[in-house]
């Protein structure tokens, strides 16, 4: 069983001679070792895979493949859970330092202070932005951390029923259903009002039927609309459920109220907007923040400040007794690896834009959307649905332009076209049968906006 792979020598230092020497020390031939385990079950004739490519061949292959994607985009009218924002050069520079990228989970704090401190700082940023008391050091993404929040609520409240606002991102709702289904927890949907926000009446009435562990509301919701979290929180707490606030657009944390002030028990969401590229949907960043009273219940890892034997400041993973490697099937979650490097990236991003920059960005996103909406309405082909409801950087517009046309008209403009909503999500506006969820961020510079409006006039 002699290997001849061309690349083995790049990634495998041992030469044939060295392997012989090692086998001699071991006192066995390799085939003998394998036979001990595998008997005769070795893969017949080897794997049916092509020969390895050398690096230069790989670059060519990759280049040919990736050139099948459409060209570069300077802005995106498409949001719905993934957002195109500007990423300062310093962010990927620092987040790609080998000391961060190639490190392991910081189980050994003496040689992992870099990761530990940066995660502590990430937690600090999340506590400030969500206005909660305790943030873990990341989950996978917004949808799965939302699902974990519902599971946590169930652990705390035990009631086999949860409510989810109809205005929650449908993929988040689907993920919640997947996570809750095997536990027999019923997921009831709270209706949407005519203004594109969750119905308080339906919420009140559904909460009154039987006990619920949690109520999940998203803001800005799937339609881009800001929900009245404070008012909802009051209702939820009256019925002794946990209030789970979710977000898909972390940029909104700079401008909107979440957390303690709106009665949240958990704030969860996706942190991709904080310096991470969209990367076709992943890896993103799950944010999970809660109250200290749930510090035995929340999922995921958390870093705490401590001291070393010389009394110096030192960071270490803490509250570990909740976790799978200690509690096994009784753990608060099975989560092990999280998205530490992305949490670090978010910390660098927030450190970079800073207090005033983050606020200014949030405002700019609001302003850019308003500019886009006015511009589109002025073409006569668009009209805003849910006109009275406040929005952040996404809004629903009805349009006379069908999706195929939308795509072809925008073909020459370097933007991702907006999301065409399925029938029924938003009410039809007379004469404009198509509805779109349209997003604008700070990337939509005036020059591109002009091109967009030109193409859609």
């Amino acid at each position: 069983m002699q290997s001849t792979g061309r690349n083995r020598f790049s990634f495998i230092p041992a030469t044939g001679d060295e392997q012989q020497a090692m086998l001699q020390k071991i006192g066995l031939q390799f085939d003998d070792i394998v036979k001990c385990f595998a008997g005769n079950s070795c893969v017949e004739g080897g794997l049916d895979l092509p020969d390895g490519l050398t690096e230069d061949q790989m670059v060519d292959y990759w280049d040919t493949m990736m050139s099948q994607n459409s060209g570069p985009r300077k802005a995106s009218l498409l949001g719905a859970g993934a957002y195109m924002h500007f990423i300062p050069a310093v962010v990927p520079h620092l987040a790609s330092l080998p000391g961060f990228v190639t490190a392991y989970t910081p189980y050994q704090p003496e040689i992992s202070q870099g990761t530990l401190q940066s995660l502590f700082e990430f937690q600090s940023f999340m506590v400030e932005l969500t206005d909660m008391e305790l943030a873990n050091c990341s989950m996978y993404d917004g949808a799965s951390s939302t699902a974990e929040a519902m599971l946590m609520a169930h652990r705390v409240k035990k009631a086999d029923r949860v409510l989810v606002a109809a205005t929650v991102n449908p993929d988040y709702l689907a993920t919640v259903r997947t996570y809750l289904e095997p536990h027999g927890i019923a997921v009831d949907v709270v209706k949407m009002n005519g203004d594109g926000r969750v119905s308080m009446e339906d919420l009140e009435s559904k909460l009154s039927v039987t006990a619920c562990s949690a109520v999940l509301v998203q803001s800005p919701n799937y339609l881009g609309i800001i929900e009245d979290l404070g008012a909802i929180g009051t209702i939820v707490h009256r019925h002794d459920a946990l209030f789970v606030e979710s977000f898909t657009e972390a940029m909104a944390l700079g401008l909107l109220k979440y957390g303690v002030g709106t009665g949240a028990d958990v704030v969860v969401g996706d942190g991709q907007s904080l310096g991470l590229s969209m990367s076709f949907g992943g890896p993103h960043l799950g944010v999970f923040a809660t109250l200290k009273k749930y510090n035995r219940d929340f999922p995921g890892r958390i870093v705490g400040e401590s001291i070393d034997t010389k009394g110096r400041q030192a960071f270490v993973m803490t509250l570990r007794a909740r976790e799978q490697d200690i509690r096994r099937e009784k753990a608060t979650s099975n989560i092990c690896s999280n998205h530490a490097l992305n949490a670090l990236t978010a910390a660098v991003y927030l450190g970079s834009v800073g207090e005033s920059g983050f606020r200014a960005l949030a405002c700019e996103n609001v302003a850019k959307l308003q500019k886009l909406v006015s511009g589109l309405e002025a073409t006569g082909h668009f009209t805003r649905v849910f006109k009275q409801s406040p929005v952040f950087n996404e809004a629903v517009l009805a349009s006379s332009i069908p999706p195929e046309d939308m795509r072809s008209r925008l073909a020459g403009v370097p933007v991702f076209p907006p999301l065409a909503l399925a029938r029924g999500i938003a009410p039809e506006v007379q004469g404009m049968p198509h509805t779109y969820l349209i997003c604008a961020t700070e990337m939509l510079k005036d020059s591109i906006l002009k091109q967009v409006l030109g193409a859609l006039s």
Partner: protein
């Protein structure tokens, strides 16, 4: 000092071409706008750069040293993978854009899926799970959904006592009741116990193979027959696939569901704890249950198939950690059929070599050849007043990351064992020096145990007080300020 403590009001590391437009919030978001977030740090760009650059140097990492971490497979992360994954044609793509605009990415994902099928002997794959535990949950949910449709009384899952903690946690999270199967005196599954436990309430058994002591499950064929004969399924935890590529395929051994840790076997970086990626493979009869969407190829066009009525649903917002998948894809393409075999071959030789060098000082529990990692005992050192933890901490002074210690938890390993996995990436010199260090430490334990008890000495901090952390529970800057 944290970044928050370095803040000086008025500084900024970045400027945009606009200032905060206060009127915006007042005009458009009259009642929902929060007050300014006054407590974010304000630092100049150089301060930010120095802060994180210095933090990075406080980490041990693969690029600076050897991680003999059993079960974690800390292999080299090729730099070409990083270059490819940073391609803006991937990073700047919106996941909801038309499939027509994403043919390159979808092709990559489809080819990756096909490669993983071939490597594992499975029939179909989802690339969606974000890391190993997420993969396990996905796999167990698939089994849960299948049993719900076919044999709803099967509500238990059997898990060996040697398993990683995520296995029972994932099974439990997927709605199963967990039943522990003891190991036998050779480190494998106790067949008698299995025979007793495997009844018609058991949905599946979760196995890691080679198991967490680096031993191949000798009775795997008999286990598969027994479990299948009694209506159960076999779940394969791919944590240790690094030992098997091109040698044995879990699919051929009878496993019905597998998950793979791309950040272990397929060389994507660990990032200090993620993001990883853990595709889940299934046999054909389970393919309908895979989470949506699934990458498919129809008439030469790649697409994301969401129309799968039996699906367990979604495991996350989009389609998985594409940028991580890309790294693993590049790795597999570059290794090819022979390279993957050479990898497992080298991983196995290296582990047995380390075992041979260290056995006289740290005896293995079973004297059998191991696969890609070896479990060694430090039990005898208690007579010098030192524990395995002390030995591990002392290794840091020699420039090494400690091996995995105090795991697995089951007898005869319950105490004072370390699990060493060199991986194929490490050179003979590195392994020799590492073993020399451990042997020197074994001497130090006898002659100067205090050196171990107070170790590490040469690190940026000495041993960290975990009790202090748990008692004070300072987990954010806000806690520090006491506000």
């Amino acid at each position: 000092m944290t970044l928050f403590e370095k803040s000086v009001a008025g500084r900024s590391a970045f400027s945009f071409g606009f200032e905060e437009d206060r009127a915006v919030a007042e005009r458009y978001i009259p009642e929902f706008a929060r007050a300014a977030v006054k407590s974010l740090p304000q630092v100049a760009e150089l301060d930010l750069v120095r802060h994180f650059t210095n933090l990075a140097t406080m980490n041990y990492s693969v690029d600076t040293g050897f991680y003999p971490l059993g079960s974690c497979t800390m292999k080299y992360n090729p730099k070409i993978n990083e270059r490819m994954a940073a391609d803006p044609r991937l990073t700047a793509r919106h996941p909801l854009d038309d499939a027509a605009g994403n043919q390159g990415i979808l092709q990559m994902e489809f080819e990756l899926k096909e490669s993983l099928q071939e490597i594992t002997g499975m029939d179909d794959f989802t690339l969606q799970p974000a890391c190993g535990a997420h993969g396990e949950l996905t796999g167990m949910l698939i089994i849960h959904a299948y049993m719900r449709d076919h044999d709803a009384k099967r509500t238990k899952v059997l898990i060996p006592d040697s398993a990683h903690g995520t296995n029972p946690a994932s099974a439990s999270m997927a709605g199963f009741q967990v039943v522990t199967v003891p190991s036998n005196e050779r480190g494998g599954v106790d067949m008698d116990a299995l025979d007793k436990l495997m009844d018609d309430t058991v949905a599946a058994i979760m196995l890691t193979n080679p198991n967490t002591v680096g031993l191949f499950e000798e009775n795997i064929t008999r286990i598969a027959e027994l479990v299948h004969a009694r209506g159960g399924l076999l779940y394969y935890d791919g944590a240790n696939l690094n030992a098997l590529m091109g040698l044995i395929r879990p699919g051929d051994l009878g496993f019905d569901v597998v998950h793979l840790n791309l950040h272990k076997t397929f060389a994507t970086p660990h990032g200090g704890g993620g993001p990883g990626a853990a595709p889940v493979g299934v046999k054909k009869f389970l393919a309908d249950y895979l989470p949506i969407p699934v990458v498919v190829c129809r008439g030469g066009q790649y697409a994301l198939d969401e129309n799968r009525p039996h699906t367990i649903g979604r495991m996350s917002g989009f389609y998985g950690n594409t940028a991580v998948l890309a790294r693993a894809y590049v790795y597999i393409k570059m290794m090819g059929r022979d390279g993957l075999l050479a990898t497992s071959r080298a991983a196995v030789i290296n582990a047995n070599y380390v075992k041979a060098l260290l056995s006289p000082y740290f005896p293995p529990a079973y004297d059998r050849p191991v696969m890609h990692e070896t479990v060694l005992s430090a039990k005898g050192y208690d007579k010098y007043g030192v524990t395995l933890l002390d030995i591990a901490k002392r290794l840091m002074d020699y420039g090494y990351h400690p091996p995995t210690i105090y795991f697995p938890h089951f007898p005869p390993y319950a105490e004072e064992v370390m699990m060493v996995e060199p991986t194929e990436s490490e050179s003979k010199e590195t392994m020799d020096s590492f073993c020399d260090a451990l042997i020197k430490i074994s001497q130090e334990a006898k002659e100067n145990p205090d050196l171990l008890l107070s170790a590490p000495h040469d690190t940026v901090v000495t041993r960290v007080n975990e009790t202090y952390a748990a008692r004070h529970l300072i987990t954010s800057h806000r806690d520090k300020k006491g506000t």
